[in-house]
Amino acid sequence: MTAGEPILVGRNVTRRFGGLVAVNSVDFEIAEGEIFGLIGPNGAGKTTLFRLLSGVYRPSAGSITLRGQELGGRSAHAINGLGIATTHQIVRPFTEMPVDKNVLVGALYGRGKLRGRAADAEVDRILELTELAPHRATLGRSLTLARRKRLEVARALATRPDILLLDEVAAGLNPTEGARMIQLIRKVRDSGVTIVMVEHVMKAIMSLSDRIMVMDLGRRIALGKPAEIANDPAVITAYLGQQAVAS
């Protein structure tokens, strides 16, 4: 699928925590409809960048624009209102609510601002898409990890985002569950949602991404198609010892 116009643009994005610069002058342009991967060794600043995109953190410097609109400084729910939804690295379902109510929160408070039967219908649709329908009455805290991850995606989708941020959504899943997740991500993208994903599971990110950005120590060190990245010497150096990248 060919990518469209740039939809999410970052210029000189920087985030400091006291003396530590977690994200250092990073530039990027994410195109509409693409699957944009973000990889890098631990501590590279990937999750921090994600949190800047979703509004949990504010940038110390630089700008992030969504279709030209400046994001920096807005609250997380306001950014959600502009069209960015996120999942979390450590899954955070609403524990005492059943699955369908979890998704309902997103439907009611998301961009769709759905109400009543329309909201219920949307919840049903998303539960089908994420294959969670058989578990709709299960409480958040009783779900297996794989189902929690799909719930994260479902709840985020219910907010009708243009851009979906997936933070290590394949981590901790066995190969079968991982393959299911990859399928789900493709289905989501095909429905018109731009996807930005952080991953350590190389198989997932290499097969899914249209383009990949590599970070190390807060900086961007490479950006390009998966095949180009895999052979980039700077990337291989950063990952020193990770054979999976070279293969």
């Binding site: 509004g55 609510m97 009611l108």
Partner: protein, 339 residues
């Protein structure tokens, strides 16, 4: 087919609850008509309803939103004093001043809530202790600070009702029943609807709710404002009935304690929990203190109850009841977001 049935039974339960609320209110409102001389019963009935109103109001911020407030007496006292002062200075009937008191308290709730509800973990609870006590001290010293005679400080404000009808205990009881219905319906509506679902989401995980599009700051402040409104209306009712206000009893820490106790013991976050807690509390206050002449015994009981509940049955009386039949459980302990 089972889904259709369950939707029907859910609707039936909602209707049943509404009917029960009205039944309680109407029964109590009719007591004076049935037996004019039943003063003691009327007193008991007033306080049960009154405590239920207070406990339900606390439950909105403490149970649904999960922000424990140890200073809720501030709103109660504020409502009482507004009504008291509007009567003693302007001769406005409590019927008129009740919504005004509620609005003022709601505004106070917003002012206090905006900076403090941002706080995480136990800090909001601690801040409420500070706010509660600060409000009390403010009212104690009000006249001195502003050089007026409005609150009459520690000596207390005495209301001379004259011939104002609204101060007749029978009318107060009826008004209380009306307020009870309003509060119960409001809490049921909140719990079943979008607002309540948002509050529960914030309660479970504030950041996750935020990224799911819930405007957490705004919703929490709104919950506090609504809670304050209802607590203040209870204050108005108290002023109308007792006709004497003093800072120690209106803003006392023991009132704030009661406000926490009732919903927690009864069933935090449920619709009927605060009512159970109110019944328990007024029973203990009334009956036990007349049997054993020690004013500290209730506190001992409540403390032990709290400990036991926190450790063994976090949903209090409602939780215990919910362990019985399926329909009782559905009535008393619906899952979050359900009516």
């Amino acid at each position: 087919m089972t889904r259709l049935l369950s939707r029907f039974s859910k609707r039936a339960l909602v209707i049943a609850q509404i009917v029960i609320v009205f039944a309680i209110a109407i029964t109590i409102a009719l007591i004076p008509t049935i037996d004019e001389r039943s003063f003691n019963l009327q007193r008991i009935a007033f306080f049960v309803l009154w405590y239920a109103i207070l406990a339900s109001s606390w439950n909105i911020i403490g149970g649904y939103a999960g922000q424990i407030s140890f200073g809720h007496a501030a709103f109660l006292g504020l409502g009482a004093y507004v009504t008291g002062i509007l009567w003693s200075e302007l001769h406005w009937s409590p019927l008129v001043s009740l919504p005004i008191a509620g609005a003022i308290a709601a505004a106070y709730g917003v002012i206090v809530g905006i900076p403090t509800l941002r706080l995480r973990g136990p800090y909001f609870a601690i801040a409420t202790i500070g706010v509660g006590e600060a409000t009390r001290l403010f009212f104690v010293n009000f006249d001195d600070i502003f050089g007026v005679t409005l609150t009459r400080g520690v000596t207390g404000l005495s209301l001379s009702p004259g011939r104002e009808e609204m101060f007749d205990p029978v009318n107060v009881l009826r008004l209380t029943a009306v307020v009870f219905v309003v509060v119960m319906l409001a809490t049921m509506w909140i719990r079943a609807g979008r607002f309540g679902l948002g509050l529960f989401a914030i309660n479970m995980d504030r950041d996750a709710a935020e990224t799911a599009g819930v405007p957490t700051a705004r919703l929490q402040v709104l919950a506090l404002a609504v809670s304050a409104f209802f607590a203040a209306s209870a204050g108005s009712l108290y002023a109308a009935r007792q006709q004497f206000l003093d800072p120690a009893s209106m803003f006392g820490f023991d009132k704030s304690i009661a406000l926490v106790l009732m919903p927690v013991v009864g069933g935090i976050g449920t619709v009927w929990g605060p009512v159970f807690g109110a019944i328990l509390y007024s029973t203990v206050q009334d009956q036990i203190t007349s049997i054993v002449r020690n004013p500290y015994l209730p506190a001992l009981i409540y403390g032990l109850l709290l400990i036991v509940i926190v450790i063994f049955e976090p949903l209090g009386i409602a939780g215990l009841l919910g362990r019985s039949t399926k329909y009782v459980r559905m009535l008393v302990l619906p899952r979050d977001g359900e009516p």
